[in-house]
Symmetry: C2
Subunit: 222 residues, 2 copies
């Protein structure tokens, strides 16, 4: 995953993926305008493997995270932003600066699939486990990126066993996904969740804490 | 806050706030490109008022959240997205559809201010309490919006008393902020955190759970 080469920053005048709009309105009498990105709802799944008493999470290279670290390291990197070609990154940071630990997740964009079915498809594609939609437990839902995107994100819990493993996971290479499946042993999970040296999403922390409060007390004693 | 009128969606060809870029790279031999938004690091603060045994959070109208709900309700609302003027929203949803509960928060964009000082400024501006930077406790940090923005978000904990209240809060009207300060009684906070009918950010849920695990056990008994 971490062989990242030929890095080049470009301006992005139009994008298939970034869909900006502006909402103009009057609030309590004052005229306002707010720029936002149209986006999709999404799901993520806290996966716990009971055979091996570990969480199953994913790890991937995130260009947006990487570029935040590049800018922290080299604050002038975007200064040529008006030029047609910002050009190659000289002396780039190691790719690991942009690798984050995340829950298995995906966007809700297939007509006809429920959010539970979408979640199960992601579990299979990214982590290689076959989980029936009826076996998912909803933890809660929340709003992510309220300033920019604001879509609804639903967080599920899924218990799996080694017997439910049907593939390697790793995402869909034809869609450019390159995902590494990582197991976090239960006894190390709270330390992992709060270890800031390991970059991760808030969903990982929220999920592990929820598990400690709601599932761990009822686990069979070893 | 909820008097929102004259809603109009516009295309957004260029924005002072949305700064899109594209990163091109080669990963394990495959050429890839990823569009992302340049953004700032940010902070949020879980505020607990010990005088009144309640959390202090903020509530505001979020255009991005509102438009997600409008599109859920009216899937064709963005279909004129190539027209110069998407025009007025007919029969708009009530503004409350776009109001979310959030931790007191802000972006880190003032040179010379530490992230702790930035957090204290936000506590004062949004919630009206004067908290010394040295009294903040860092809970953890994480990566938000890893697909799109990926900046580092640091979550703090601050204890306040009624005596530390120096103003009304409410944000900076000259910057267009209109923020309502809301108190969540401790005994209702876990129910609040997991009540999906109350739209909120993951930081609220994460913060309240962290408090239950780390602070609540040491509170003096009533």
């Amino acid at each position: 995953m971490e062989a990242i080469e030929e890095l080049e920053i470009q301006p992005c005048a139009s994008s298939l993926y970034l869909r900006p709009f502006r909402l103009c309105y009057r609030q309590n009498g004052s005229k306002k305008a707010w720029d936002f990105m149209r986006t999709h709802d999404s799901v993520s799944i806290l996966i716990f493997n009971t055979s091996r008493q570990c969480f199953v999470v994913v790890k991937q290279f995130r260009p947006a995270v990487y570029m935040c670290e590049v800018e922290r390291h080299c604050p002038r990197v975007f200064q040529n932003q008006d030029r047609e070609n910002l050009g190659h990154l000289e002396d780039p940071l190691p790719a690991v600066a942009g690798v984050t630990y995340e829950l298995c997740a995906g966007i809700v964009d297939k007509p006809g699939l429920s959010i539970e079915e979408t979640a199960c498809e992601e579990i299979s594609e990214e982590c290689g486990y076959n989980v029936p939609a009826a076996d998912l437990r909803k933890i809660t839902s929340y709003r992510s990126g309220v300033g920019l995107t604001g879509s609804r994100h639903t967080l599920f819990y899924a218990e799996v066993t080694d017997q439910m493993k049907t593939g390697e996971g790793g995402g869909q290479p034809e869609e450019g996904e390159l995902i590494e499946v990582v197991e976090i042993p239960l006894e190390e999970s709270m330390k992992f969740a709060f270890d800031e040296s390991i970059p991760k999403t808030p969903g990982v922390i929220l999920g592990v804490m929820w598990f400690q409060n709601n599932i761990a007390p009822n686990l069979p004693k070893k």
